[in-house]
Symmetry: C2
Subunit: 230 residues, 2 copies
């Protein structure tokens, strides 16, 4: 079994867990607090970021998209209909564009700030950047949530899955990000019916189960978080 250094409220780590889950492969999970800059962890990844996968031979594979490419090359390419990447290069670029959208753009506009202010700061020392939540940051991130839900709603309403006709990494990246926001109660699902319908399909996949039992110290998820009918 391979090992993943992760944090339960990082969208990029959830994306990796969902991806291995879709291929029926279990991961040994080690919770890492990247802001603590643990020395042994920095020797695996000098950037100090998560996720990091310890692959065969304990080679560290660093970063969500790098892990996804590694997974595709070593497993996905043999999965035929269940493969999470397309065969065609233009279609592959579309999947990668959306993975970047949710793990980089949604992260920078919304997710990182809400997770940090609402969930992580209370557990950080002041040297690590802890303290009271910053309400201006939370307000700005909440204003941005709507754009990302609107875009997801448009994708889900015009395509079978977010990147096209098949389930792909794009859906798992979006689900990674939106499930974190949902945990925090930041998504008004009723305003985005197509996104809601898509998310409901995602939530009932077996790969999603372990995410629905995630709990973070000092912050319970909203009541509907684990409901398949929400």
């Amino acid at each position: 079994m391979l090992t993943l250094f992760h944090h339960p409220l990082y969208a990029s780590c959830r994306f990796v867990r969902l991806s291995f889950g879709e291929y029926g492969e279990e991961l040994a999970l080690i919770e890492e607090r990247p802001w603590a800059r643990r020395q042994e962890f920095l020797s695996l990844n000098p950037a100090g970021t998560i996720p990091v996968l310890l692959a065969e031979g304990d080679h560290p594979i660093v970063g969500a998209t790098v892990i996804a490419e590694y997974l595709d090359e070593t497993r996905g390419a043999l999965k035929r209909e269940k493969r999470l990447m397309a065969e065609d290069s233009v279609q592959r670029a579309e999947i990668r564009r959306l993975v970047d959208w949710y793990l980089t753009k949604t992260e920078a506009d919304v997710t990182r700030h809400l997770v940090r202010e609402r969930a992580l700061k209370p557990h950080m020392s002041s040297a690590e950047g802890g303290g009271s939540p910053d309400s201006a940051t939370i307000r700005a991130a909440r204003a941005n949530v709507r754009q990302h839900l609107k875009y997801t709603n448009w994708l889900a309403g015009t395509r079978d899955w977010l990147a096209g006709k098949k389930l792909s990494y794009a859906d798992l990246a979006a689900a990674g990000a939106l499930s974190v926001l949902d945990y925090l109660g930041e998504v008004e699902w009723r305003d985005y019916p197509a996104a809601r319908d898509w998310y409901s399909r995602m939530k009932s996949r077996p790969s999603f189960r372990s995410l629905l039992t995630d709990r973070v110290r000092g912050l319970s998820p909203v009541s509907h978080y684990a409901d398949l009918d929400f």
Copy 2:
């Protein structure tokens, strides 16, 4: 000839130009000011970011790493010894890790801030975020430059090329980032002899030529910028 929407002082755009250059393929360049959020450009890439490549059939390929994967799949895989990616999956992950390092981490710690404060703000309206350079931001970015040069110096001193035995995307990403910082005169090369030696090899490659003639309105490069012996 394919078309690239780019800006001359964006490391990620320089990385793409170098990559096509290494394969001897010319690109038609369109200079895009992403902060202006031009409507026609947003219809190609709703994220509003550069670079964007118009590939065969005018399909927009969005983002530097996505373009690099597309280029590898459609050209690189046939280039044998000249291929900018490895064959082995673990080695490919190391190349991708370093591309991310220079285009995401160096960008966030250093490049983005120095380019914005020193080169772009004078050409932005106040609605676009223009104004006087922020000296605290410049100071913080300059403090971070050293870490990134030190790491590059360590990589260049312990490996033939930054990711291993062969020239790869990792070298082109690092060269994209460091050439922007060099244009701005932010690199004290004499403190980093192995990095300097590596950069000198990069600079004399034919793919580098078009970068060395780049000029940005209102800001000339440092005197040694285009010198192969610096």
